[in-house]
Structures are given as C-alpha cells and as structure tokens.
C-alpha cells in the first residue's frame, strides 16, 4: 500500500517529463529535421558544453483552459548552461508549440532568466523563432491586462552582461524584441525578423510581401544593420554565438578572458607595408592590414555587410581582447557615411560596456557630404559618434595609416580623442583634401596657372612631421612596428586603478540605434 502511494507521484513525474520533452510532437520535429533545421532543444545542445543544461520551468504550460495538453514547456525553453565552462542563461523558442507564441507562463520564464542573468552576472542567450503574442490569450482588454506590460523592465538594457541572439526562423514578437536589445546578433539565411508577419500586414494594409522581402537576411545585414553576421545553417549560427562570447567577460565588472598568443602571430608584420598601394589615389582592403596585426585566427568582424566604409572587429593582441575600428578605403575610398557612424557608435558602446580597449586604424578622406547625407541626418550622427567616443572610458589607441581630414580626424581619435595617437610616415593630416584646399585658399582651380605648385606645397604641409613636431601625435612608427606598438601601449594604458573596469557611461545607450 505504502509503495503504491509513493510510486504514483514518481510515475506522474516521469510521464510529465517525457511529455514536456516531446515538444510539439514527432511529426513536426521530423518535418524540421528534413529541412535541415534544428529544433529548440537540439539548438541548446549544439550551443553549450555537453550535458551542462539545467532547465528552468520544464513543467510550465499554458494557463488557458484546454491548452494545457498542447503546450509542452509552453513553447519557450529556459535554463542555465555552460559555454566554455562559464554559466549563461538561455531562452530557446520552440516553434513546434503554438509557434513559440508569447503567453503568461513563458513570459514569466523569460523574466526569470533576464533577472537572474543581470543579478548574478550571466550572459543572456536568445535563440529566436517565434510568431508573436499568443491568441486568444492576449486578445481583448482582459487579455491585455493579464499578459502584456506587467514587467516595467522588460526591454531595459543596462548592459550588466552581454546578450547574444540568433535569428533562426520566423522572428516576430519577442524574438525580434530581444534580438534588437542584444549586443550581438546572427541571422541564418532563410530566417526572417520583422515587427509582424506578411499575413498580418496583408490583412492590415493590403501590402503583399514575401517574408524574405519583409525582413530577410539581406535587409538586416545590408540595409538596416540590425544583425551583425549572416550564416548558412543553424549550426554556424550557434558557433558564432559561442565565438562572440569567447571575447566577452561574463559581466561588466570583469575583464574579458585572456588567451595564450597563437604561434606565428605577428609574422606578417615584416611585409605589412606591401599591402599599402604606392599611389595615394589607389585603395586597399584595410581588413587585410588588421588581420596581419592581430593574433592569428582572432579576427572576428561584425556587421561586415553594413556601413562597409568602416570595419568593426574584435580581435586579440598578445592574447588580450581588443576592439578595432577602422576605415576601409576599399569601399567609397573610406569616406565615412551615416551607416558607418551608427555601426561605429554601436561598437564603441559594446567595447566600453565590457571593458575592451579600442584600437582605431585611420585612413579616411572625411565624411560623405551632400543632400543625401543631410537627409540621412549626417550632422546628428557625426555628433552622436563624437559624444560616444568621448564617453568611452576604456583605453583608446589610434594609428593614422594614411589620410585623416577635417572633422573625421577627430571622430577617428585625432587630437585628444585617443589616449595615444601614432602615425605611419605615410600619414597625411589636414583640414581638407589639398586639391579642394587650393581652390578655397588661393581661388585656383585645376588647370589654372599656379594650381599645381600650390597643390604640391599643400601636400608637403600635410606630411606627418608637422603635427609630430608639436606633439599633436605622440609617435611616428614604421608600419612593421604597429603590432608591437599597440601591445606595448595597451599594456601601459591598462586601467590599473579600477582593476581593468571602465565606468560604463554608455550602459543605457539605445541598442539598435
């Protein structure tokens, strides 16, 4: 008799556990697998250290009468896991359960993960694929009163810990919201992020759109800049999240992890100057210069398809994580545009929030000017960029490779906008490009008598020796010395007085600006 009483609850436990782990059922799971798309639990397994998942809310179900049986884990799987031995909090949306739509129970799970991550210093991982608010749960004034808006900090980002997000299917509702709050976002080709689905848009406005045209990878990687990376498969997306987190501390009061310097790092420095064309009118790919400077296999570019006149990349120098901001003359000659401003600001905020020193590599003729630039709010973007740069409290080291002109000289760390400025002997520094300056200063245009002489004079005045002689740059270095120079100065500039931790003055800067 006693044994039977004990066994019943234990049997219930096992049965309920099996049912919860079954997700939306075999047929739905098989259909996904046939398309080469992982399910919500397989995604977690692929992401984390083997066997480290500790689930929270396995027995959560819908509170709506009649829905209990069809809502295993209520469509959002939550828990703690380890990545590279470090604890993280995870939400993985299970699209096979009511499209992972948001409900009272699963929003509580999200709230718990967010709170614990912030309080205990765990990175937050979002695996996105969701259809939006669940109906009829959220319908009507009673639905709205019960479900939405009950957490006054739901979308608040104070950057206590890094957040990463993968867009792995249709991401409407909570998946787009938390993606756009994140510090790093990767999209798998074929996935979609949008405020609402094409079906709802057609009902509301009559506009017919394919999901891809509404919010596919090209839109977000190339036009909106809302994602940082594009990959082909779920597996690659999960690997990208792991990789990004390897550059991050687990929370904002910690330094990023230091790794051993890979063998052969810096060997390419001997011939780095060969990457720079002989003529100042020819361009080159700055990414190749960066890859020579940083530790081998440590280059991790973000937003590679957006604002391409600028490069933002994480990397390591002698094992320590750095954030690199550079102009890329290969695209538009390196002329800074408004997309590049947004991209750089996002990256400055990221680095400053997580105690990552910044290296700037400079070669830009200035900001893109003209009517189109003004319409895109160039003036405001340039000022936001400067404000962010001056709020940075981690070390900033800049190296002028070639051109630096006018306002862009300041935005790229010139003057006192870096802790140290170095220049290669190839640097040219001035207010505007000499050909235009001859016209402004002397009233001469190309072809006028005397133009070429004045141009030669001005080009000479732009050489680095003038600014070096008045200590406007602190160092003139040979190209091949750049890696050693940066390693030494990042050592000098460690934040010793605060154990490497910055002030995080931009912790509340808007995400996805």
């Amino acid at each position: 008799m006693t044994t039977e009483k004990k066994e019943q609850p234990l049997n219930d436990f096992e049965e309920r556990r099996r049912a919860a782990l079954a997700m939306g059922g075999e047929a739905k799971l098989r259909a996904r697998a046939e398309k080469g798309v992982l399910d919500a639990r397989s995604r977690i397994d692929r992401l984390i250290d083997p066997g480290s998942f500790y689930e929270s809310g396995l027995f959560g179900r819908s509170i709506m009468p009649g829905d209990e049986a069809t809502t295993p884990a209520d469509g959002k799987i939550a828990g703690y896991a380890r990545i590279d031995g470090r604890e993280v909090a995870v939400i993985s949306n299970d699209f096979t359960v009511k499209g992972a739509s948001s409900s009272l129970t699963n929003m509580r799970k999200i709230g718990q993960m967010r709170r614990i991550a912030a309080m205990r210093g765990l990175p937050m991982v979002w695996l996105g694929e969701s259809s939006g608010a669940r109906l009829p749960d959220n319908q009507g004034s009673r639905g709205m009163g019960t479900m939405l808006g009950n957490d006054p900090t739901q979308y608040q980002r104070m950057r206590e810990t890094p957040w990463v997000s993968a867009i792995l299917g249709y991401c409407y509702g909570s998946s787009f919201l938390y993606n756009c709050c994140s510090d790093f976002s990767v999209i798998r080709k074929g996935a979609v992020m949008a405020v609402s689905s094409p079906g709802l848009i057609e009902l509301a406005t009559g506009e017919k759109l394919s999901p891809e045209d509404l919010g596919g990878w090209r839109i977000h990687a190339e036009t909106t800049g809302m994602v940082d990376m594009v990959v082909d498969t779920d597996e690659e997306a999960l690997d990208a999240l792991r990789k990004f987190l390897s550059y991050m501390p687990t929370h904002h009061k910690e330094m990023p992890p230091v790794r051993p310097t890979p063998a052969g790092s810096g060997e390419g420095m001997r011939t780095i100057q060969d990457l720079l064309p002989a003529s100042r009118t020819q361009v080159y790919d700055m990414r190749k210069i960066i890859q020579r400077i940083v530790d081998n296999d440590s280059y991790f570019e973000m937003k590679a398809r957006f604002g391409r006149v600028a490069v933002t990349a994480l990397g390591r120098l002698a094992g320590r994580v750095v954030g690199i901001i550079a102009n890329n003359p290969m695209v538009k000659g390196g002329t800074l545009d408004t997309d590049a401003c947004d991209k750089i600001i996002d990256f400055l905020v990221l680095c400053d929030s997580f105690n990552i020193p910044i290296v700037m590599l400079v070669d830009t003729p200035g900001f893109l000017i003209g009517a189109e630039a003004e319409k895109r709010r160039a003036t405001g973007k340039i000022v936001n960029f400067m404000n962010a740069l001056q709020l940075v409290t981690v070390p900033k080291i800049s190296v002028i490779i070639r051109k630096t002109y006018g306002q862009a000289y300041l935005n790229m760390g010139g003057g006192r906008n870096s802790d140290e400025v170095a220049a290669w002997p190839t640097a040219e520094v001035s207010f505007m490009t000499p050909a235009f300056a001859v016209t402004v200063v002397h009233g001469l245009r190309r072809g006028d008598p005397g133009f070429e002489e004045k141009l030669a004079e001005m080009e000479k005045e732009n050489e680095v020796w003038g600014i070096a002689s008045m200590y406007g740059v602190q160092h003139v270095i040979q190209p091949q010395e750049t890696r050693d120079h940066l390693i030494r100065l990042l050592d000098v500039h460690q934040l010793r007085l605060s154990n490497g931790i910055g002030q995080h003055l931009m912790r509340a800067w808007p995400t996805s600006s």
Binding site: E222, T281, Q282, V283, D285, R305, R308, P329, M330, V331, K332, G333, T335, P365, E372, T433, A435
Partner: protein, 73 residues
C-alpha cells in the same frame, strides 16, 4: 541560381572594367573601378558567382546605387 545586382556605392565615372560576361568573381572582388573623389574606387561583388552582364561602359558616369553588373550566384 539567383541573380544579384552589383551596385555602385558612390557617384563617379567608370575608369576600368575588370571582368567580362562569363568570368567568375569571388566575394568582394572588384568588378569595375570608378574614378571618384580623386581616387580609384572599386565596385565590389558582394556575392561571388558568374558575371552575366556588364551594364556600363568605360567613361560613363554612374550614380550611387546604380547597378553596374549582374552576377549569377
């Protein structure tokens, strides 16, 4: 096979055309070179693939956003 448009990101004049229909280009390989802002600025193929059409001629002015070539990915 999807067709992608290679677009100029800047206003300028076509200085050199580097590929012809049938050529295969890699990701971020230059397709044409523009003269713009007193610099030689390449227009790059964002996606690698086979060039099927070149839509500009040397010396021609192109605008920002103008399609200069089609690449079959």
């Amino acid at each position: 096979m999807a067709k992608t448009e290679v677009k100029s990101e800047i206003t300028g004049a076509v200085w050199k055309i580097l590929v012809k229909p049938g050529d295969v280009v890699g990701v971020d390989e230059p397709v044409i070179i523009l003269e713009s802002m007193k610099m030689e600025i390449p227009v790059l193929a964002i996606d690698g693939g086979k060039v099927t059409e070149i839509l500009v001629k040397e010396g021609e002015a192109v605008n920002e956003g103008q399609t200069v070539a089609i690449v079959e990915v």
